[in-house]
């Protein structure tokens, strides 16, 4: 901006306020600011139903990347693929106007423009730019997430918003970096920027030099990402955040957004193959291969370490969903289920629902949601209506011992313990005697106990448990449905007899 005055009087077409890029640059900044203001408002005016808060983070690639590696479910995979394809095609549009921190950084860049008209200069790319963000990702994959959150744009802004945008260290560091380094943050600290940089290195569209450059150097001076090498008429597309400073200043109008000219492409390819043929080129290629291999191995090691921890932390309910009776296993259900949902309609207890997990193996598959209804003992209706045999026909006799899930009891959450009251709702409804009340810590105050060997996993106990929000007793899915080896023993002998009036 500071140099806008100079270029006004500049020669020829393009450059200055007459350039369409000048207008676009301000449109991008305005969009970034508008989104930031919306987010800031939502963050500082707590409202449980805030649309902004429920949508905004879901479109943040930094959050998508985090979700991708900690859940790996298909919602994240799909969102990430969309971002990856768009970024590979069009460059780092996210950094231009969608990043909440980008708007703040642009403000710092503007401020610097007033104070230090000297501007920026081109800096070479190098592997050192990846050290911090790659380490953050390694730590995140390994299960240590807070360093990632300290520099991931949405987390920085939302975290600051929680404290009403009081000047915090993170905020000062990030915005200070904007003042001193322009968009340098985006290219050697930001983990989102790192991933987007890799994706956009050879983007189809981007800022390109056309014929007619006069080598005035204004573009390089104006580039807050220090990615314009005007001497060689090259621009590092990976680092370019599409702020459009360069194009809006270019007096000759040679810098513009578009595809690489075919001639230039051919030339670059030829140069590359020539370079590769030299010995030095071979050494460089080998070195690059080894470095990449080592980094990949480190990433894999970190991810596997973290994955083990994550698998242990994942609730059992998520590991194996509770499938309808007769589904046998998720693999069997997936091999036969056409998602017709007839079983859902047939269930008299409305216990079956389309799975809301976005994992492709589960999405819309019929699952038992015990919180809404339990599997009625001796009921086999769903297995009778299934048209494809995804739910195999089982008899009522088999259903009595058909194990859908296993019961879990967290007694320290039970109201008998926490409130010292009588309850027994779980034992009351248990059809098999797997859950029962017996004396516990307090005399005369029966506590629930479970005999897993009698449990068919119907979920009735979970449905009626009054503990909120997580029930004290619940069912967790099994990898394979099976049949109980035994049922609770039958009482033998005649009823006891009441001889006389006991009162």
């Amino acid at each position: 901006m500071s140099s806008a005055g100079e270029t006004e009087s500049g020669e020829g077409k393009g450059g200055g306020r007459s350039s369409p890029y000048f207008l676009l640059k301000w449109i991008f900044r305005a969009m970034g600011l508008l989104l930031l203001v919306l987010l800031a408002r939502a963050l500082t005016h707590p409202d449980g139903d805030s649309v902004v808060l429920s949508l905004y983070p879901k479109f943040q690639p930094g959050q998508i990347i985090a979700g991708l590696f900690s859940h790996g479910n298909s919602a994240f995979v799909l969102s990430f693929l969309v971002y990856a394809v768009l970024t590979a095609l069009f460059g780092r549009f996210f950094c231009a106007f969608l990043c909440p921190l980008g708007a703040g950084l642009e403000a710092a860049v503007l401020l610097r423009g007033f104070a230090k008209p000297k501007g920026y200069s081109y800096r070479r790319s190098g592997i050192w730019r990846s050290v911090v963000p790659f380490s953050l990702l390694l730590l995140f994959w390994a299960g240590i997430t807070f360093p990632y959150g300290a520099l991931e744009p949405y987390s920085v802004v939302a975290g600051a918003g929680y404290f009403g945008f009081r000047p915090s260290l993170a905020l000062l560091v990030v915005l200070g970096s904007g003042y001193f380094l322009g968009r340098g943050f985006c290219n050697f600290l930001c983990p989102t920027g790192f991933i987007l940089r890799l994706l956009s290195r050879r983007s189809l569209f981007g800022m390109r030099f056309k014929e007619g450059c006069v080598s005035c150097g204004k573009c390089a001076k104006a580039c807050p990402a220090s990615c314009v090498d005007y001497r060689n008429r090259k621009l590092d597309a990976g680092r370019c955040v599409l702020c459009l400073e360069c194009a809006s200043l270019c007096p000759a109008g040679t810098l513009s957004y578009g595809r690489e000219a075919k001639a230039a492409l051919g030339k670059a390819a030829a140069a590359k193959t020539d370079a590769a043929k030299t010995d030095a080129g071979k050494v460089l290629r080998r070195r690059a291969f080894l470095v990449r291999g080592a980094l990949g191995a480190a990433a894999a090691a970190a991810y596997l370490t973290g994955e083990k921890a994550r698998a242990e932390m994942l609730p059992e309910l998520r590991r194996f969903p509770v499938l309808p009776p007769g589904a046998l296993s998720l693999a069997h259900l997936n091999a036969h289920c056409t998602l017709c949902h007839t079983c859902l309609r047939a269930c008299p207890n409305q216990a079956l629902h389309p799975c809301e997990n976005m994992d492709l193996a589960l999405w819309r598959k019929p699952v038992l949601v015990a919180a809404r209804g339990f599997c009625q003992y001796e009921c086999v209706k769903c297995t009778r209506v299934c048209p494809t045999g995804a739910l195999v026909r089982i008899s009522v006799e088999e259903k009595r011992v058909w194990r859908l899930a296993q019961v879990r009891l967290k007694k320290e959450s039970c109201v008998v313990i926490t409130r010292e009251t009588s309850c027994g709702a779980c034992a009351e409804i248990c059809p098999t005697g797997a859950v029962y009340m017996a004396d516990g810590l307090i005399p005369g105050r029966p506590e629930p106990y479970v005999k897993p060997e009698y449990c068919v996993g119907c979920g009735a106990c979970q449905k009626v448990c009054p503990v909120e929000p997580m029930p004290a007793i619940w069912i967790s899915g099994l990898k394979y449905q099976d049949m109980l080896a035994q049922r609770a023993p039958k009482a033998e002998g005649p009823d006891a007899v009441l001889e006389d009036f006991p009162f």
């Binding site: 207890n349 009588s422 309850c423 009482a491 009162f503």
Partner: protein
């Protein structure tokens, strides 16, 4: 003699005052005409005969229900198990009561329960839907929150607001016909506990404590008459019953206007008395909702 009549009159007046302020439950029992017992217990081989014997001792059904009145008969039919397992009220007894009410000229007789098992299965398997329908009752569903209305409960400490079934609210008279059973959480279930089947959301009762909340079921509206089926009594594994449930051949029917007294007698049948008795009976008596001390009641023991 004259002084005695005078005192009786005073007591009756006090009872009337008590009734009008609807704050005391014990006073009417004290002031009751002496010729009718507080509680009748009948032993025999047939529940229907035992019911007839009990009601004749209590002065007949017509003492409780007038012609043209709408009556709710509230059995326990919470479980999808056959009648012989005695997890639900005996269908023959319910059928007999419905028939008697209609013979008496009751306008309409309703039967429903908010079941624990799937409602259609419980209505069917318990045999109660068929029995009540054949006897002429209207069997109403209780499986949707739409049938229940929120009411403010006067004097409640825990359940200031309850969602009660519209039939429970609208019926002129309520005949509470529970089955006596062991209960995993509440220890014993009979008259008071059976009223939980008229409430939509049972979560709060369990959460706040059954012993504290069950007595409050009597606060909004008390049943006109409680008839406890103690013919075959589940002694363990209740309330649903399990394969290893033990039973007692109780061969008894308990009838009383006082649900607390009926529960106290029921506990004696099941053998849970003294300090072992459920706290909800003690709590109900302490809050003046009924009498739990059987030794101070006029009990008639009969055989049919």
């Amino acid at each position: 003699m004259k002084r005695r009549t005078f005192l009786k009159g005073v007591a009756g007046g006090a009872a009337a005052l008590g009734l009008s302020s609807a704050s005391q439950g014990v006073v009417p029992a004290l002031a009751q005409e002496a010729r009718f017992p507080d509680l009748v217990a009948v032993r025999g081989d047939s529940l229907t005969a035992m019911f007839d014997r009990a009601l004749s001792a209590l002065g007949g059904l017509e003492r409780y229900v007038q012609k043209g009145e709408t009556v709710l008969v509230k059995p326990n039919m919470g479980w999808a198990v056959p009648p012989e397992l005695a997890a639900n009220t005996n269908p023959e007894l319910v059928s007999h009561i419905v028939k008697n009410l209609l013979n008496l000229g009751a306008g309409k007789v309703y039967v429903f329960d908010n079941t624990c098992d799937n409602w259609a299965a419980a209505y069917r398997e318990s045999g109660l839907e068929k029995a009540a329908k054949e006897a002429g009752a209207t069997v109403a569903p209780g499986n949707d929150s739409g049938y229940y209305q929120g009411v403010d409960v006067p004097g409640a400490k825990y359940l200031e607001r309850m969602e009660l079934h519209e039939l429970y609210l609208e019926a002129d008279k309520i005949i509470n016909v529970p089955v006596l059973k062991n209960h995993g959480g509440a220890k014993v279930t009979a008259a008071m506990k059976n009223l939980m089947g008229a409430v939509w959301s049972r979560g709060p009762l369990h959460r706040l404590g059954l012993d504290e909340t069950i007595p409050e079921l009597l606060l909004y509206k008390k049943p006109t008459l409680n008839v406890v089926d103690a013919f075959r009594v589940m002694l363990s594994g209740g309330p649903r019953g399990r394969g290893d449930s033990k039973y007692l051949a109780g061969r008894m029917l308990i009838a009383s206007e006082d649900a607390v007294a009926a529960d106290a007698a029921a506990c004696a049948v099941i053998g849970v008395t003294g300090v072992d008795a459920p706290d909800y009976i003690r709590n109900a008596a302490e809050r003046g909702l009924g009498a739990s001390d059987l030794s101070r009641l006029n009990i008639q023991r009969l055989t049919a």
